[in-house]
């Protein structure tokens, strides 16, 4: 588990983190989306871990299983 994923998990956010250099792609493991306050906290943690950009993958299951 990446440091960012671990730190998010400590705060109750369950994401797999895919790092592409300074871009963190958050792959949600549950169905909820972060509200504005959670997004601010996620961005803060990501900055502390060296990421400049954070993106939330939408419908990751659809990407893994196209046509499902």
């Amino acid at each position: 588990m990446s440091d960012l994923a671990a730190r998010l998990s400590e705060q109750g956010d369950d994401y797999r983190v895919e790092a592409r250099e300074r871009l963190a792609i958050l792959v949600p493991q549950t169905g909820s989306s972060p509200d504005v306050e959670r997004r601010k906290e996620i961005l803060k943690l990501a900055r502390e871990e060296g990421f400049t950009h954070v993106a939330l993958e939408l419908d990751p299951d659809g990407a893994r299983f196209p046509g499902s």
Binding site: R20, E21, R22, L23, I25, L26, G31, S33, P34, D35, V36, R39, I42, L43, R47, T52, H53, V54, A55, L56, E57, L58, D59, P60, G62, A63, P66
Partner: protein
């Protein structure tokens, strides 16, 4: 509306003073060919040049290529027609230049060099004394390698020369009822591809399709689809993120972008940032 002007009368007066200086400068040039994209700045310059110099001595030239969003070219042509501007259209082939296609951090230099290599001889053939672009005063800061190509070709940047900022150009455009006054900035499609990832016609078309599909969902204002191979990272106005994260709306984003050929779709949690990939690549500070 995102770009509602809040300038007071003193700021408007200052903008108008700069505009007077711009008009005086245009008169001294006698004739001008404007490198025209249909964006906020070059549209304003082309319209003022047309007003000051007349149709025969102010020509706008639109470069069309795979890196220019098709919708923007259509708007540019409509605006020129509505303002009775002598518009010429040329095709440019920067994508075929391997130095451009390799997508280095100074990619814009090679694009602009190709453009001015076409427009400067064209100006000479048409008897236009000066070639000008829409660079504004705000553009003088930041990462702008394209400016070097303009300098090498003696292309003038009168908006920057007289200190006209983007906000002032929007205000003065609004005063002329130009449709561009509230238009979001629209840099070329290659700006959505991370440096080092080759710029291809296929990738550019994929981005154009995705952004057009998202626009058709009603997304106005700033919007970029950043190309990360199989994944599209959508940047939109931060105020819209909550709405588009609602499950049914998120699925509409996904469907629109997948139809353009991306397998994976992600929404940037910070929202739109101008020059976002420059930050990601460390070209400018975060």
């Amino acid at each position: 509306m995102r770009y509602v002007s809040r300038m007071d009368s003193a700021e408007l007066a200052a903008a108008r003073l700069k505009e007077h200086r711009l008009a005086d400068w245009l008169r001294t040039q006698r004739s001008v060919l404007v490198g025209y994209s249909g964006g906020v700045d070059s549209t304003y310059l082309a319209v003022v040049a047309r007003e000051v110099l007349g149709r025969d001595r102010a020509i706008a030239v639109l470069g069309r290529s795979a890196s220019v969003p098709n919708a923007q070219s259509v708007i540019a042509i409509e605006t020129a027609r509505a303002r009775d501007i002598d518009l010429r259209i040329v095709s440019t082939t920067e994508v075929d230049d391997p130095r451009y296609a390799a997508n280095p951090v100074d990619r814009c230099y090679f694009c602009k060099a190709v453009l001015w290599d076409v427009l400067c001889p064209m100006a000479a053939r048409l008897g236009m004394a000066t070639v000008a672009d829409g660079t504004n005063a705000d553009d003088l800061t930041g990462h702008r390698p394209g400016a070097k190509a303009a300098d090498e070709h003696q292309v003038q940047s009168p908006l920057a020369l007289f200190g006209l900022t983007k906000a002032e150009i929007r205000l003065l455009s609004q005063a002329r009822s130009l449709p561009t006054w509230a238009q979001p900035s629209a840099p070329c499609l290659a700006s959505r591809i991370p440096y080092g990832t080759p710029v291809t016609r296929e990738r550019l078309a994929q981005i154009d399709r995705a952004e057009q599909s998202l626009r058709s969902l009603g997304i106005a204002g700033d919007l970029r689809v950043r190309h990360h191979d199989d994944l599209a990272r959508i940047e939109l106005d931060a105020a819209l993120i909550d709405y588009w994260l609602e499950p049914q709306n998120a699925q509409r984003l996904v469907d629109a972008v997948r139809a353009a050929g991306f397998r994976r779709v992600a929404l940037d949690l910070r929202g739109f940032r101008s020059g976002s990939l420059n930050v990601l690549e460390g070209v400018v500070a975060a």
